[in-house]
């Protein structure tokens, strides 16, 4: 896990619908626009569930950052050549 201002990279991230995993990515890179506080994440897909990808809402989760929140709402998502690119809203408040 590497934490830099407005950038997070990590080994494992998940796109989830409730507790179910729609997509698991590895080697993800999350970039945050300081002005809008919105983020973009990209990563290589390890597994995906075609049904869960049709469900809403979806949330991007970084399990290793759970203590700090580590959850962002997915606003837009695309999958091309086994690569996930998603636009995320501001990080959700810790539950």
């Amino acid at each position: 896990m590497r934490l830099e201002p407005n950038t997070i990279s990590g080994a494992r991230g998940l796109v989830k619908h409730q507790y179910q995993t729609a997509v698991e990515v590895q080697a993800f890179l999350l970039r945050r626009d300081p002005a809008s506080k919105k983020c973009t994440v990209s990563g290589a897909i390890v597994s995906q569930d075609a049904y869960l990808l049709t469900q809403r809402p979806l949330v991007f989760v970084v399990p290793s950052l759970a203590a700090a929140g580590g959850r962002w709402p997915v606003e837009k998502l695309s999958i091309t050549d086994n690569q996930l690119i998603a636009q995320l809203g501001p990080m959700l408040e810790r539950e």
Binding site: R12, L14, K16, H17, Q18, Y19, Q20, T21, V61, P63, A66
Partner: protein, 147 residues
């Protein structure tokens, strides 16, 4: 037509000493299949009277308990010896399995018992839902007029 997909829901199961588990309320078909696969072990091939061979499976009681726990468990309040929460939420199955292997055996048995009781309760609820969901047979006259 009827709804055949449940919304993913969770339940909190209270344990002794103020601890708790967060579990899936119900399993999906895929999760149930995985539970059955993980709870079974292959037996040697059975020969039939005709000489044909049929590979068979049997329930492994040790594996079945762990498979049930892994199928339902999402999170818990357990802490390690230093008082840090043992992180299992959103972790891969092998991480959760390793955490379950390191807790006290009494704690594990309490987890397994709580989840098995939850599974039994949900089976009863679902059986009751099926009874109330059954609708009266639609008459031929109704079908014709609906068309």
């Amino acid at each position: 037509m009827s709804i055949r997909v449940r919304r993913p829901a969770t339940e909190r199961l209270d344990l002794s000493d103020g601890d708790h588990l967060l579990v899936k309320t119900d399993l999906t078909a895929g999760e149930y299949r995985e539970l059955m696969r993980a709870a079974s072990r292959p037996l040697s091939v059975t020969a039939t009277a005709t000489g044909a061979s049929i590979p068979t499976m049997e329930l492994d009681p040790i594996a079945a308990g762990l498979a049930t726990v892994l199928a339902y468990l999402l999170d818990w309040s357990f802490q390690d010896a230093d008082g840090r929460k043992i992180l299992i939420a959103d972790q891969p199955p092998e991480v959760i399995k390793a955490a379950l292997a390191h807790i006290d055996s009494d704690a594990y048995m309490e987890v397994q018992k709580a989840i098995q009781e939850h599974q039994t309760r949900r089976a009863a609820v679902i059986a009751e839902e099926k009874k109330t969901r059954t609708t009266a047979p639609i008459s031929v006259r109704t079908l014709v007029s609906a068309g």
